[in-house]
């Protein structure tokens, strides 16, 4: 089974990444446009205040709060909550784009180029940012949750917890970028050795 080159594992993954990138960009567009449309432009078709049960999923648990104890959310709050996911989606789409470019070089069997070192470094930075953004988002959603639940029997506290494993992964990518930089230099030396 060929790992790099044409018709290889790398070319299949590149195809999947290309598809994911287009899907990601499309979803991001739909998310932003739909949430702004619902929040600002649907005067009659969507009620200003939405009453519903609140479902929270975390760590393999699904907790549902009845609409009787949940504050109805306004359209604007709904819009901002959905829009707050956008930065995370942007980072994920950027990571996929960088990976796609790297796999392109693997299909061409020429991975040790300076550009790949830059891409790996970018991936590392984006992965670290993803962890930070996700933590901020969770804190924001948690804060809204605390305000939305109007029951004296339910206590919800927000915590700021950074996913150190993801941050560590980001740092590993940055180190790997330096390895590729050295590899690119060595390849250049080899190419220019007559």
């Amino acid at each position: 089974m060929k790992v790099v080159g044409q018709k290889s594992v790398a070319s299949t993954i590149k195809m999947l990444l290309t598809g994911s990138w287009y899907v990601g960009v499309f979803l991001l567009g739909v998310l932003v446009i739909a949430s702004i449309y619902i929040g600002l432009f649907t005067e009659d078709s969507v009620p200003d205040v939405i009453e519903s049960n609140l479902v929270v999923q975390s760590m393999g648990l699904e907790i549902e709060f009845s609409s009787e104890i949940v504050e109805p959310i306004t359209k604007l709050t709904f819009m901002f909550t959905i829009l707050s996911i956008a930065p995370l989606l942007v980072l994920i789409v950027l990571i996929i784009y960088q990976l796609r470019k790297i796999f392109e070089t693997l299909v061409n069997e020429n991975p040790f180029v300076e550009d790949n070192a830059k891409r790996l470094k970018n991936i590392g930075i984006f992965v670290i940012l993803t962890s930070i953004v996700q933590t901020i988002l969770q804190s924001y959603v948690g804060k809204n949750l605390v305000q939305a639940i109007r029951s004296p029997h339910v206590q919800i506290r927000t915590m700021i917890e950074f996913d150190m494993v993801v941050i560590f992964l980001g740092v590993i990518f940055i180190v790997l970028a330096e390895v590729f930089k050295i590899g690119a230099k060595m390849k250049e030396e080899q190419d220019l050795t007559v």
């Binding site: 030396e189 220019l192 050795t193 007559v194």
Partner: protein, 68 residues
């Protein structure tokens, strides 16, 4: 400090074209061009030997050290 490759001068002196030299030494024109245009980072002894034989010259005829 740099090493200048005087391949151009030697080709003119011996009346040989780059293409002919490429065929004789078995090195591609692309690689010889890298050498000729002083873009090479290193040269193998086998390459130097092959060029010197083809041009009937010494390594010193091909390479010149220039102080900046």
């Amino acid at each position: 400090m740099r090493i200048k490759v005087k391949l151009d001068e030697m080709l003119v002196k011996k009346g040989i074209s780059l293409t002919e030299l490429s065929e004789e030494v078995g090195i591609t024109i692309a690689n010889l061009s890298i050498l000729k245009n002083n873009k090479a980072k290193a040269i193998r002894f086998t390459t130097l030997e092959a060029i010197c034989e083809a041009l009937d010259c010494q390594p010193g005829d091909l390479l010149e050290h220039i102080n900046n």
